[in-house]
Symmetry: C2
Subunit: 760 residues, 2 copies
C-alpha cells in the first residue's frame, strides 16, 4: 500500500512504473497491528465477542485497512469499491495515501475506528470510555511504545480503577513494544521485563509478556485466551454480587521488532528492528534499482499467491480465522458506527427561578442534571477533574455517586460521576463514551480546559470526516449521529479572586472558535434560567462541541423562564429593563457577554441613567457567541439587518466581553467597515488574589470603565457637552477611588456592590 | 495566615474582629510542606547543599511563606516589610491573600520558587530541567497525590532516565500522599505500599516510605540522609568514570494526614485526615462562635510562645535547624533568582545561502545550532518530542548526541539533546532549565505544540510577575532576567500532506498572541536566511516567548543575507522583485505570511504580471506578526504611517496567512475603519493525505485563489474591464482545473509547481 500503484499481486517482476510517485505511509508498526487483528478475530470467532479494536499507532492505517479489506468490512461500507477480489485489492493499494484514496492515518473513514489516528496519547482513555455502561463489550487497545511515553497514556493505566465490572465492559491493553520511535529508542523498549512487570503490577494490572518470535502465534493466542478468562472471572464475580476487591485486570506486553518481516537493510543501514523502518523503508523504490529489487524480494516473501487465488479471493485457511457472524468482525460492530441513543428529555422549567431571585447557575445545573441522570441511568455520565464540589455542582450526587473502584469505602461504585485529576482522562473517557453512542458532560475550571484543547481539535477532525466524508467517493454516510460533547466552564477568572492569577485563562473559547463553524458552539448564559435553557438545548443537540460558560456564585436572575427561552432562542437581545426608556434609537450601545461582565454593564447603565439621563443607552446581552460571526460564516450568525437591529447601524458600541478580546475582534472583523464604531474590552491577563471587583478593575471591564467609555462617546457624539462630560468623569473617578479605598482598607468589596441595581 | 488579621501572636483570646472578612487559602497540604521545609533545611545545614525546593501543591503558599519568613528570606528580598520580628510576622499574616499582600499561590514573588503554583502536573519535570548541567544542585520536589494523577506527572517519573549523573545534579522526588483531593480520595491514597513500591520500582526508583506519625521526624530525616547518600553514590561512580548502569535514584513517599494537626472536626464533619480540610477548615470563623473557639484551640495548640519570644524572634532551637550559610537557605539559592548566563554568540552569516538558492530553513537551523552548541557546551539544550530527524534538524547531532541514560548502546550520554515523546516533559524540562539561567529550544511539529499551551500560559504568568511585580510594594526586582523560551514550529499543515488532517493545527500561534504583548513574539521567516537571522535574534533576547514558524522543505531563498537582515529588522517589507515595476502606488496589495503562503502570493504575482500587466501589484511579506497589531498595543506594532507605507492608505489588501484567520483578524481589528478594505485568507481546517498543492487549494490560499481575488478587486476598482476580468478568470479557472487534473491522474503535483517564478 505504501509502494505499489500497479502489479499489486506481483504477477510480473516489479518495475519503476509500478511504484507510486510519492511514497507515503508508515511501515514500522504495521506487522504488529496485523498480527493482533488476526488473533483478535480468531478470539472473537471462538467466543462470539463484542469487540472493538482501538489502535493507538494510528499511522498504521495500512495494517488496519488491509485487514478490514480481507474481512469484507471495507466492501460492506464502500460497496463496489473495495470488494474482496483482485480489482478491489488493486484499488485499495493503488489509492492508499494518494489524492482521493484513504489517508495515511486511521480516521472516521476507517470502519470500526472510534479514535482519530493522529496526536498520540489518548487511545487507552478513549477505550475505557467506550466500555463504560456496556457490560458485554471488550476493547482491545494497542498502545505503541512511543505513545506510552506521553503523559496522557501514563495516567490512563490507572483507568481500570474507574471500571465497575458489574455495569461496564473491559479494556484489554496491549502494549506493543517494538523498541523505537521515529528516530530514537523508546523508554519502554529499554526497560527489562522486571521493570515492566513491576511498573504495570503497581498500576494494578496482571501482566503477560509475549515475546517468543519463534512461537509468536501460539504464545499470543494463549495470552489472549488467558486474558479473556481473567476478564470473565472478574466480571462474573461482580455480576454475582461477589465482587473482587481491587481486581487485577489482565494486560499484554507484545514485543516484536519494528518493521518485522520487512527488508533487513538497505544502503548499509539496518531496517528491520530499527527506527529506520518507521516510515518508508525503501524510499527510492521508484528510482533506485537496489531499492526496487529489495522491494520485490520483500513483497514476494509473503507468498501472496498461496493466500489469495488468482481472482484475489482469500483461500479457505485465511477466511477461517474470521468471525462467522460478519457483524462481529472488528470493522463491523454496530456500536462503533450506529447513531447515538437520545436522552430521555427532562424539562428545565421546574428547576428555574423567578425573575429577580438570586441564584447560582451551577447549583441550578446540579439540580437539573440530578434529574437528567435519574431519567437516563445508563446513557449519560459526567467527567470532572476533581472540581465537582468546588464548582457547586455537588447536588448531582444526590441520587448517584462517584465511580471509583479502588476506594473500599466507596458506597456507590456504579455512580454516574468520575472524578480524576487528569483533564486528559476526563476528555478521553468522554470521547470514547460519546463515540459509542452515549452522552458526556465535562464541567471544569475555566482555566484548565485548555489542557485538552488539542484533544478536542483532534476529536473535531474525526467528527468532521464522519459527518462530511473525506472527499472523493469515500463518503461516510454509514456513520450515525453522535451526541455532542458538552463542556461547562465555571470558576472563571472573574471569580478566581481567591486563587488568583494562576487560575485565570479563558483561552479554551478560542480553541472552539477555531473549529469548523458547523460543529462549534459557545454560549455565555448570564443567569440561572438562561443557563438551564441552554444546557437543555445542548443535551438535545448532536454532532457539536458545546461550550457553556457561567457562574457558580449567586447572581441576579434577569429573565423569567419564558423571557429566558425567547432570549436564548434569539441568541442575543436587548435588556429593556436596563436600557433608556422608550423604544428610541440610542446614542450608544453597551453589550455584556458573560455573567459578571453583563452585570457590570447593567450597573454602568444604572449609574448613567442617574448621572446623564439624556444620554440614551441600549443594553444588549449576547448568549450565543456565534451570532456575532460574519454573516454567512456560521449558521447562527446574524444577518446585517438583525445585527443593526440590535447594535444600530452607526452608533458606538462597547462590547464588555468575558474572554480574550481577540475572540470577539476576530468575529466582528466580518462586520467590515462597521468595525470603526466598535470597541472591545475583555480579559487582559491581569489579576491576583484580591476581591471580585478588583479583578474587574485591573482588567478594565468594571462598571466605571464602562461609564467612562460612555461619557467619552456621549461627548464625541455631541449628546453631552465637554464641561458636563468632564464633571461626570470626575464624579465617576471619585466614586471609583472611594470603592477602591474601601477595598484596600477592609480587604473586601463593599457589601452592596453586587446588589441588583434599581431601575425605574 | 488564612484566618487572622490581628492578634497574630494570640496575645489575647481571639475575637471576630481578629478574623479576616474573606477567608482565603489552602490548609490541607500545608503541614506536610512545612515538615519538609524544616527537614530539608537541616539536611542543607548538615551537608552544605545547593538545594532548591520545588512545591507541586503551589496552593500551599502559607506553608512556603511562613518558612521563608522564619529563615529570613522574606526579609532579605522585601527589606523593611517582612522582618523576623513581631511586626513583620503580623504583616505577613494580616496581608496574606488580601489585596496588596502575597497571593494564595506560590508565584514569582515567592523567594526560592521556580515554578508557578497553579495548574498541576509540572513540578517534577521542571525540577529535572533545573538540575541539568548543574552537577552540584539537588532539587527536592514534592508532588501531591492529587497532582500525581495528572498525565504530565505520570510521564515525569521516567525523567531520571535523561539525567547523566556526571554532568547534572539530582532530583529527589517526595510523593506526599495525604489521601484526598478537593472532594474525593486520590488514586495514590488508595494504593497500598506494595502497589506503590511496585509502581515506582518499575519506573526505576528506589522507594522509601515514611509514614510513622509517632516518629515522623526521625523517620523522615533518616530517609533524607539515606536518599542523599544514594545520590552521592550514583554521582560519585559516574564522576569517577565507573557509572552505574540504570542507576536507581532514591525517592520518598511521605504519608501524613491531610490537614494534619488541624481541627479534628466541626459541625459534625471530620476535618483532619479528610478532604474537608483542603481549603478553609473553619469557614465561619468570623461569624460563628463554635468556629472561632475551634480556631482558638487549634492555633493555641502550636504554643507559639514557646517558639517565638515576645518580640517575635525565634528561640534558638528553632533557628538551629537553619543553614548557617544564609545564601544556602531554601529561599536564597542564587540559581533561583539570578540573571541568566548569556550565550556565546555565533554569527549566522556563515550559515546563510546565496540569494536564489534552494534551501531548507530547518537544515540551515540544524547547521547553525550545531555551532551554537559547540560554542556553549553547558548552557543550552534542545528538547524535542521525537521529531528531530523528521523535522530535518539532525545536523544538530553532528557534535553532540541524545542524552538518554537507559539505552546501554547510547554513545553520547551527555548530549545536548533530549528526545522524549511527551511535549509536557519537553516543556517542563525547558522551563526548569530556563528558570535556572540557561537557554532552551523546543522544535516541534506545528500541530502538537498546542499540547502544552496552558503550560506556556502558566509560565508566562510567572515571568510577568517576575518582571513586573505583583502590584503593591512586593516588587520583584530581585529576580534577574531569564532567557526567552524558543519554539520552532515546522512540519506545518502546509507540508503535512503525507500525514494529513490529523497533523494540521496552527492553533499555538493564538496561545502566544493571547499572552501579555510585552512577552510574546511570533515570527514567520519565509526563507532560510530570514530564519537564521530571526533565530539569532531570538537567542540574543530575554524574558520572551519566541515562536518561529518555518519550513523543513527546500524553498527559494528570496533575500541575500544583507537583505534578509534589513527585512527582518523591519519585520515586514515590500518584495520589490515580485511587485509591479517602478515605485508607484499599486492598485492592490498582496501579503504573504508564512513560507508556503508567501510562495503562493509570489506565484500569483507572476501570473498576474503576465495576464494583466496593467494591474499594479505590490507584494508584501510580514516576518514579525506583531507588526500588524494595533498601533500602541505592542512595542513592535507599526504606526499608522508605517502601516500605510506598506499597505497603502486605501487600496484593497489580501493577507494570505499561514494560521487561522482569526489570529490576523484580531490583530487587524485595531486598524478600525481600515478593516473594510482588508481580506484575510488562511488555514480553514481542511486537508487530507494529498499533495502539497492540493492542501493550498482546499484551504483557499493557492496562487489561483489569490489571482481570482486580485482580478475581482481590479474590476471593482475599474482598473480592469468587466469583460477582461471575466476572460482572465476563465483562463485561471482552466489553468487550475488542468493542474488539479494532473494531480488526480498522477498522484503528485506537476514537477515545476514549486520552481521559483521568473520575474523581469
Amino acid at each position: 500500500m505504501i509502494f505499489l500503484r500497479d502489479n499489486t499481486l506481483l504477477e510480473r517482476p516489479l518495475r519503476f512504473e509500478d511504484i507510486k510517485p510519492r511514497l507515503l505511509g508508515h511501515w514500522g508498526t504495521c506487522p504488529g497491528l496485523i498480527l493482533l487483528h488476526a488473533h483478535l478475530s480468531l478470539l472473537i470467532r471462538n467466543h462470539d465477542l463484542d469487540m472493538i479494536y482501538v489502535i493507538g499507532p494510528g499511522h498504521g492505517a495500512p495494517a488496519a485497512l488491509a485487514c478490514l479489506w480481507l474481512e469484507r468490512s471495507l466492501e460492506n461500507f464502500y460497496p463496489g469499491e473495495y470488494g474482496v477480489n483482485r480489482e478491489g485489492l488493486g484499488r485499495l493499494i493503488a489509492r492508499f495515501a494518494v489524492p482521493g484514496g484513504f489517508p495515511s492515518h486511521i480516521n472516521a473513514e476507517t470502519p470500526g475506528a472510534i479514535h482519530e489516528g493522529g496526536e498520540l496519547g489518548y487511545a487507552l482513555a478513549v477505550s475505557f470510555g467506550a466500555v463504560m455502561d456496556k457490560p458485554d463489550v471488550i476493547v482491545a487497545c494497542v498502545v505503541g511504545d512511543g505513545e506510552a511515553e506521553t503523559g496522557a497514556t501514563a495516567a490512563a493505566w490507572h483507568a481500570h480503577k474507574f471500571i465497575d465490572p458489574r455495569e461496564s465492559g473491559a479494556v484489554l491493553p496491549i502494549l506493543h513494544v517494538n523498541g523505537f520511535k521515529i528516530s530514537e529508542r523508546t523508554i519502554f523498549g529499554t526497560m527489562d521485563d522486571k521493570e515492566l512487570v513491576a511498573l504495570f503490577s503497581g498500576y494494578g494490572w496482571l501482566v503477560c509478556i509475549v515475546d517468543d518470535l519463534e512461537h509468536i502465534d501460539e504464545q499470543l493466542y494463549s495470552a489472549l485466551e488467558w486474558a479473556l478468562a481473567e476478564i470473565h472471572t472478574i466480571q462474573q464475580a461482580a455480576r454475582e454480587e461477589k465482587p473482587i476487591l481491587k481486581p487485577r485486570w489482565p494486560m499484554i506486553v507484545l514485543k516484536t521488532p519494528k518493521g518485522w518481516t520487512g527488508p533487513k537493510e538497505i544502503d548499509g543501514k539496518i531496517l528491520e528492528g530499527s527506527f529506520t523502518s518507521h516510515q518508508v523503508p525503501l524510499p527510492k523504490a521508484n528510482s533506485d534499482k537496489a531499492h526496487l529489487t529489495a522491494l520485490q524480494e520483500w513483497l514476494s516473501s509473503y507468498r501472496i499467491h498461496e493466500l489469495l487465488d488468482p481472482e484475489g479471493h482469500p483461500v479457505p485457511i485465511v477466511a477461517h480465522i474470521l468471525p462467522q457472524n460478519e457483524t462481529k468482525r472488528l470493522g463491523r460492530l454496530r456500536l462503533t458506527h450506529e447513531s447515538y441513543t437520545p436522552l430521555n428529555e427532562v424539562p428545565w422549567h421546574p428547576f428555574s427561578f423567578p425573575k429577580g431571585a438570586d441564584a447560582s447557575s451551577m447549583k441550578a445545573v446540579g439540580n437539573y442534571l440530578d434529574a437528567v441522570f435519574q431519567a437516563n441511568p445508563h446513557t449519560i455520565r459526567l467527567f470532572s477533574p476533581d472540581e465537582l464540589e468546588s464548582n457547586k455542582l455537588s447536588s448531582i450526587l444526590t441520587h448517584t455517586g462517584r465511580n471509583f473502584q479502588w476506594d473500599e469505602h466507596s458506597f456507590a461504585k456504579d455512580g454516574r460521576v468520575i472524578e480524576v485529576l487528569s483533564e486528559h482522562l476526563c476528555q478521553g473517557f468522554m470521547e470514547g463514551y460519546t463515540l459509542t453512542g452515549r452522552t458526556g458532560i465535562f464541567p471544569s475550571y475555566e482555566a484548565f480546559l485548555g489542557i485538552v484543547s488539542t484533544m478536542v481539535v483532534q476529536y473535531g477532525k474525526f467528527v468532521k470526516i464522519a459527518k462530511q466524508g473525506g472527499g472523493g467517493s469515500r463518503r461516510t454516510r454509514w456513520r450515525g449521529d453522535l451526541h455532542s460533547l458538552n463542556y461547562i466552564e465555571t470558576s472563571t477568572w472573574t471569580r478566581q479572586e481567591h486563587n488568583g492569577f494562576s487560575h485565570q485563562n479563558p483561552g479554551f473559547v478560542g480553541t472552539v472558535l477555531s473549529m469548523k463553524a458547523e460543529f462549534a458552539r459557545v454560549y455565555f448564559p448570564p443567569d440561572a434560567n438562561t443557563f438551564l435553557y441552554t444546557l437543555h438545548h445542548c443535551l438535545e443537540s448532536n454532532n457539536l462541541v458545546n461550550l457553556l460558560i457561567g457562574s457558580k456564585h449567586p447572581a441576579p436572575t434577569y429573565l423569567s423562564p419564558e423571557e429566558a427561552s425567547l432570549h436564548c432562542s434569539r441568541g442575543a437581545g436587548i435588556f429593556y429593563f436596563a436600557s433608556s426608556p422608550g423604544d428610541v434609537v440610542p446614542n450608544i450601545v453597551l453589550v455584556g457577554i458573560g455573567t459578571e461582565l453583563t452585570f457590570e454593564v447593567i450597573a454602568a447603565a444604572s449609574l448613567l441613567h442617574t448621572l446623564v439621563p439624556h444620554l440614551r443607552i441600549r443594553v444588549v446581552n449576547v448568549v450565543d457567541l456565534m451570532r456575532l460571526s460574519a454573516e454567512g460564516s456560521h449558521s447562527h450568525s446574524l444577518t446585517l439587518g438583525e445585527f443593526e437591529e440590535l447594535f444600530t447601524a452607526d452608533k458606538p458600541v462597547l462590547f464588555n466581553y468575558h474572554g480574550y478580546v481577540s475572540d470577539l475582534q476576530a468575529l466582528l472583523f466580518g462586520r467590515r467597515e462597521g468595525v470603526g464604531r466598535m470597541w472591545v474590552r475583555g480579559y487582559r491577563e491581569e489579576g491576583s488574589t484580591t476581591t471580585p471587583f478588583e479583578m474587574m478593575v485591573v482588567n478594565g471591564v468594571s462598571r466605571f470603565d464602562v461609564v467612562k467609555w460612555a461619557i467619552k462617546r456621549g461627548v464625541e457624539g455631541g449628546v453631552l457637552g465637554e464641561g458636563e462630560g468632564g464633571r461626570v468623569l470626575n464624579q465617576i473617578e471619585r466614586k471609583e477611588q472611594s470603592v477602591r479605598g474601601f477595598i484596600r482598607e477592609h480587604g473586601k468589596d463593599p457589601d452592596d456592590m453586587y446588589d441588583m441595581p434599581k431601575f425605574e
